[in-house]
Structures are given as C-alpha cells and as structure tokens.
C-alpha cells in the first residue's frame, strides 16, 4: 500500500517538529527582517509609497495652501532638529475632512488627512500626531511591515495553499500593536526634546477614546492599533516633566488650520 511507510510515531514526531519550526519562524521573522528593511532600495520604497498614496491623492486631492505648508514644515523640522534626526520627511495633507487619520508609508512619506487637522484643538495636539507618525518612519515601521506582512502572508499561503487572510490578520495583530507602542515611546522622546511635552498627544488620544463606544469593543480587539487607554497609560508612564514652550505662534497655527483653503 502507498501509505505503508507512514506510521503514527513518525507523524507525532513530524507534528512536534512542525510546531517548533512555525513558532520559531513567527518569533524570529521581525528580527531577521530588520537589517533588510533599513537597506531597501529607494525605487522600491517610492513605488510602494506611490501605490499607497496615489489613490488618495487622485480621489481627494492634496491641500497645498503655501502658508499652511510652510508652517507644517516648520513644525516637522523643529521636532526633527531638536532630536538630531537627519531624515527628511515628506508630509502630504489629503483633502478629506471626514477622515481623521494619518499614516506613514515607506520612504519617510507621511499622509495626514484633513480631518485630523480639524480635530486637533492645539498645535501641541497636532505635534503629538506628527511625532507619532515621524517615529514610525524613524523606526522603519512601514518598511518592516511591508516585509513582515507580505513575507508572513506568502509563508502562510505556501504552507496551506489557500487564502490565509484571517490567520494572517490574527498573526500580525501583536506585531502591529507593538509597533504602535514603540512609535508612541519614540514620540515621547521627540516631544520632550522639542519642549512640547506629551500633554498634546495624550489630549488628542483622549478625544479619540471618547469616540470609541462600547459597541466597538470587539472591533477594537481585532484592530491593528492597540486600545487607546493602554496607549495613554504607556505614554504617561514614559513622560517626564518638561518646561514647555509654544511650538507654533497663532499665525502659523491658523495657517495650518486653513491648509486646505485654496489661495484666492
């Protein structure tokens, strides 16, 4: 018979070896990918970044009010310079007032949706959001996620031969949540060095938290971002008292607030 060579003893041994190998692969994948992520070629980063950003740019357009752009650049440069960050960041504001999110793509490109500027009440709150997204770029999270998520997906696809979307999502949850905590921790450093403090970031997160109703509890547990309350607690724990200074003047803040207004 064709199955004579398969015995239960061999199967049990094989299953144990498989479980160990899968565990090691999931555990060590991020560590192995770190050096690759930091040396990704620019053309690849640009291509992926364009692939992510262009649909939004085409659909909503970009906010390009010159005064607002200058003020936003000033804010980013101050946050970067005070922490001696050499990377150049490319911020784009997408003209979508409904969406109040922001994210970083490979190649230090960061997309801010107009909604987030509307929701932010103070320059410090916006600085908190920017510092968080800059931290993702500084820590190479978009590049790492690109490699980790696609690598894991291909690995699961080749193992099981079927669309592994659900398993893939569940396995990447912890990884993406860890990245959020790491970006928050780095943002605390940027904000402290820039003498902005973490109050703005905490206030902004608290505003988001108010919008998270109980009905969203299950959804929250399956989201790539961690619970907002846990993030606030972690930021508070890392924060040190700092003599704060205004990061923007009123004129600059008003210019950012009207960044999506087309110049007459």
């Amino acid at each position: 018979m064709v199955t004579d060579f398969i015995t239960w003893k061999k199967i049990i041994l094989l299953v144990i070896i498989t479980l160990i190998c899968v565990g090691l692969a999931i555990l060590f994948l991020p560590i192995v990918l770190q050096p690759v992520a930091t040396h990704l070629p620019t053309f690849l980063k640009t291509a992926v970044s364009d692939y992510i950003a262009l649909p939004y740019e085409r659909k909503y357009g970009e906010c390009n009010n010159p005064a607002g752009k200058i003020a936003l650049d000033d804010l980013v440069v101050k946050l970067a310079n005070d922490s001696n960050i050499k990377q150049q960041f490319n911020f784009e504001v997408i003209d979508d007032p409904i969406d109040s999110t922001a994210f970083a793509t490979p190649g230090n490109r960061i997309l801010l949706f107009a909604g987030i500027i509307e929701v932010a009440d103070t320059p410090e709150q916006l600085a908190g959001v920017l510092a968080h997204e800059m931290s993702h770029a500084i820590l190479f999270h978009p590049e790492l996620s690109l490699l980790h998520d696609n690598g894991l997906f291909l690995m699961l696809l080749s193992m099981f031969g079927k669309d592994p979307s659900i398993a893939h999502h569940l396995l990447t949850l912890k990884y993406s949540r860890d990245n959020e905590f790491a970006a928050d921790a780095n943002a605390v450093t940027l904000l402290t060095n820039a003498k902005v403090g973490t109050k703005g970031l905490i206030d902004f997160l608290s505003k988001i938290q108010l919008n998270e109703t109980n009905a969203m509890a299950l959804q929250t547990s399956l989201r790539s971002h961690p619970n907002v309350a846990d993030r606030i607690a972690a930021i508070e724990e890392l924060s040190t008292p700092v003599a704060t200074q205004p990061i923007l003047n009123t004129q600059q803040w008003l210019a950012i607030k009207s960044i999506c207004v087309k110049p007459s």
Binding site: T3, I6, L14, T18, V22, S158, G161, D163
Partner: protein, 307 residues
C-alpha cells in the same frame, strides 16, 4: 450487467496521510504539496475498485510541480494587474480585460486539469483521454459566462449543458467515445426554480441544482455501449456539502479527512456502470500520458468539481 464502484479506503489511513502531508507542507513551505496530492490520489485510486479490479493513479509529483511553476508567472501577472487596478476594477478597460482573462483562464485550467487526471488514472490498463484544445474550451467558457451574466443567470442550465457537452463528447476511454445526448431545455426549469428559491434557502437550492444537473448529464451519457447511471439526489448532496462545510469549519480543518472519506463513499454509492466490461477491456489503446495540465488549475486555486 451492472457494476458499482467499491471504495475501501479507511478514515484512519486518510488521517495518517493528511497529517503527514499537512506537516511536510508546512516544513517545506508548500513544496511538498505536489507529493502530498499525488500520495492522496494514489491511495484513493488504489482503494476504488470496479469489478474487483483497482484503479491506479499514474501521475507524478514532479509533473505537478513543473506545471505549477510554468503557470506561476500567469498568476503573478494577474495578481499584480489586480493590485494595480484595485481601486478601479470595473471603470478601467484594462481592469475589465483582466477580469475577462481570469474567467477565460479558469475554464482553460478546468479543461487542462481534467485531461491530466483522465490520462493519469488507469483501470485494467484502460485510460481516458480528452481531445480538443483547452484554449478553445476557454473561449467557449467565456462566451457561456457572458450569456449567463446577460440573462441574469437564466441561461446557467444552457451553460452547464454546453460545457459538459464539449467536455464529454471529446472524452475517450480506450477506443470507446463518450457520448452525451442531453438537451439544454431540460435544465431550464430546475435552474429557474432553484434560482428563485436560493435567497430563502440560503443558496442550498443551488446545491440541489448541481445534483440534478449531474444526475441528468450522467444519465444521458454513454461510453460506447456502456451506460452511466447516476443516482444522486439533491437531498443527499445538500447533506454532504453542509456536513462537510461545518465539519471542516468547526474543526479548523483537522477533521477534513472525514470529508474526503464521505465524499468518496458518496461517489461510490451514486455511480453505477451498465454494460459489458469485457468490451471496454479489449479496447485498450496507447494514448499518451499527459505530463502536465494541472498547473494553471492549481495556481488559480480552482474549487470547481471536475468529476
């Protein structure tokens, strides 16, 4: 004289094969799947008997593997294309073309895989073969899909009839030709009724339709003077599908060998051959064994039932 297919595979052996293949698939990042598939097919063929003679699976894992890697570039082009038109799949003419390409290639894949399997299964030295081109079958499939979509599904019966006709009337076992003599109009009513009932039966009526279509098609099929008798009925197939779905889902796939076992028992139970077997045995010919043909089917991850 009537002959039933007898299936003698056991659950225990299937579980052994499944765990063995599943573990080695993971360890080899999927590369072992071709060997695993071949092992399972060898086992199933070996345990199916007709007139006390076992079937034999002649396929090789190497040819499955080669076929897969040959078809892989097509899959990559399609995936990249769909990623590119992800935001405008039906607004962009290239996006529409890409969708049509997938439909076309799915039919090409089904035909190619059927040919591969027919030539690689042998009973008493008799093997099947299918003439005609897979690419031409793809065009027919594309045309049938277009008509079915335009008729809001009313022509699905005609589509099934046309595609089975094209496949079956090109199949030969030894020197005997398969002849399908059904008519499309006979499938119209069952298609209409099961479509109307679909929303209130959670689409289970469509499984009923599949059983009825197979029942009609096989019962209108002859292999030379040999008659195929199919005793499938909707209720049995619905039971098999629903049971298989929940068993796989609730056990996270661990109990999948039970599904294979039930499916094989179902096939054995519902297919009967009527005629003179000696006539079939003396018609052995030397058709070429296909060395490839399933690659596209595998990369497109088709689930269409071929049998």
């Amino acid at each position: 004289m009537q002959y039933k297919i007898e299936y003698s595979g056991t659950k225990e052996e299937l579980f052994k094969i499944w765990w063995w293949v599943f573990s080695l698939n993971i360890l080899s990042l999927g590369l072992y799947s071709f060997w695993g598939k071949t092992l399972l097919r060898q086992y199933l063929a070996q345990h199916c008997r007709l007139n006390d003679i076992s079937f034999e699976y002649l396929g090789h894992a190497g040819s499955l593997c080669r076929g897969f890697f040959k078809a892989l570039p097509i899959w990559l082009i399609l995936i990249l294309g769909f990623k590119f038109f992800e935001h405008t799949p039906y607004e962009d003419p290239y996006g529409v073309l890409l969708t049509l390409a997938v439909v076309y290639l799915s039919f090409v894949a089904i035909f190619g895989a059927l040919r591969y399997r027919l030539t690689n299964v042998s009973w008493h030295g008799v093997r099947g073969h299918i003439r005609s081109s897979a690419w031409r079958f793809g065009l027919l499939g594309l045309w049938c899909s277009f008509v079915s979509v335009c008729s809001l599904g009313l022509m699905l019966g005609w589509m099934d009839h046309t595609l089975y006709q094209k496949k079956f009337n090109n199949i030969r076992f030894g020197k005997l030709s398969v002849i399908y003599s059904g008519a499309a109009k006979d499938l119209f009513k069952i298609n209409l009724y099961t479509m109307l009932l679909a929303p209130c039966t959670l689409w289970l009526s469509r499984i009923w339709y599949v059983a009825k279509v197979r029942n009609y098609i096989y019962n209108h099929t002859c292999v030379g003077d040999f008659k195929v008798i199919n005793t499938e009925d909707g209720k049995a197939l619905v039971k098999l599908y629903v049971w298989g779905f929940f068993t796989t889902l609730l056990s996270l796939g661990i109990l999948y060998p039970l599904v294979i076992q039930r499916k094989m028992q179902y096939i054995a139970q519902h297919f009967v051959l009527q005629g003179d077997l000696d006539e079939l045995i003396v018609t052995i010919d030397q058709e070429k064994i296909m060395q490839s043909g399933e690659g596209l089917y595998t990369v497109l991850d088709e689930h269409t039932e071929i049998w």
